[in-house]
């Protein structure tokens, strides 16, 4: 099924506005899925600013959009500079080997173990939920 063009345009706009953007199940404060929670944990440890979008209210329409723009339908999805970097597996692997720090242009956190707790972290920018009109 083709993606809703209006939603697709909104997604493209949000991708332009957020250098680092996470599509996730739930919110950074209350993740609703273990994989989303793990990606949030990585981003918090990186201390990078990121936007987060909760996919749950519009899961199926959003799947159709991401299928078209990045050939990927499962969430979480982390985008940097508008490009899909990957889901939980890829993000964790790139975090552990330092590629993510390089991509973000930040220093690799000293305790790059997934079990370590983040200290002070910036508040994530929570984007307003995407709406689909007329459905």
């Amino acid at each position: 099924m083709p993606a809703n063009p209006e939603l697709k345009q909104k997604v493209e706009e949000v991708l332009q506005e957020n250098r680092v953007l996470l599509f996730m199940k739930g919110t950074p404060e209350q993740p609703q899925c273990g994989f989303s929670m793990r990606v949030v944990g990585v981003l918090e440890q990186m201390g990078t600013e990121y936007g987060a979008i909760d996919v749950l209210p519009i899961l199926d329409p959003l799947r159709e959009v991401t299928a078209e723009i990045s050939d990927w339908q499962t969430f979480p999805q982390l985008y940097v500079n508008g490009e899909l970097v990957g889901g939980c597996d890829i993000v964790e692997e790139m975090f552990e080997n330092g590629e993510l720090a390089e991509l973000f242009g930040v220093e690799q956190p000293k305790a790059a173990a997934s079990t370590s707790q983040p200290e002070a972290t910036p508040d994530p920018q929570q984007s307003p939920p995407l709406q689909v009109d007329g459905t």
């Binding site: 050939d71 990927w72 899909l84 970097v85 990957g86 889901g87 597996d89 890829i90 692997e93 790139m94």
Partner: protein
Amino acid sequence: MADLAEIERMIADALPGAEVEVVDETGGGDHLRAIVSAPQFEGKSRIDQHRMVRAAVQPRMDDGSIHALSIATKPLQGPRAWTR
């Protein structure tokens, strides 16, 4: 419930020369992990490598045999290519 050997074969057929291992992560037969080394990964981004693996098994995702597939990829290089 997926047939692990069939999944391995689908990936190996799509990526000739690849080393493929598919494991059942939960024992339920539908949450799988594929560990793949393939010469085709050379020069590709991770997400592209994952797309290649996922595309190979897409029919089994579409028909519901695989509920979740986690993927680990690495380029196949050097002596490892000769271990089979």
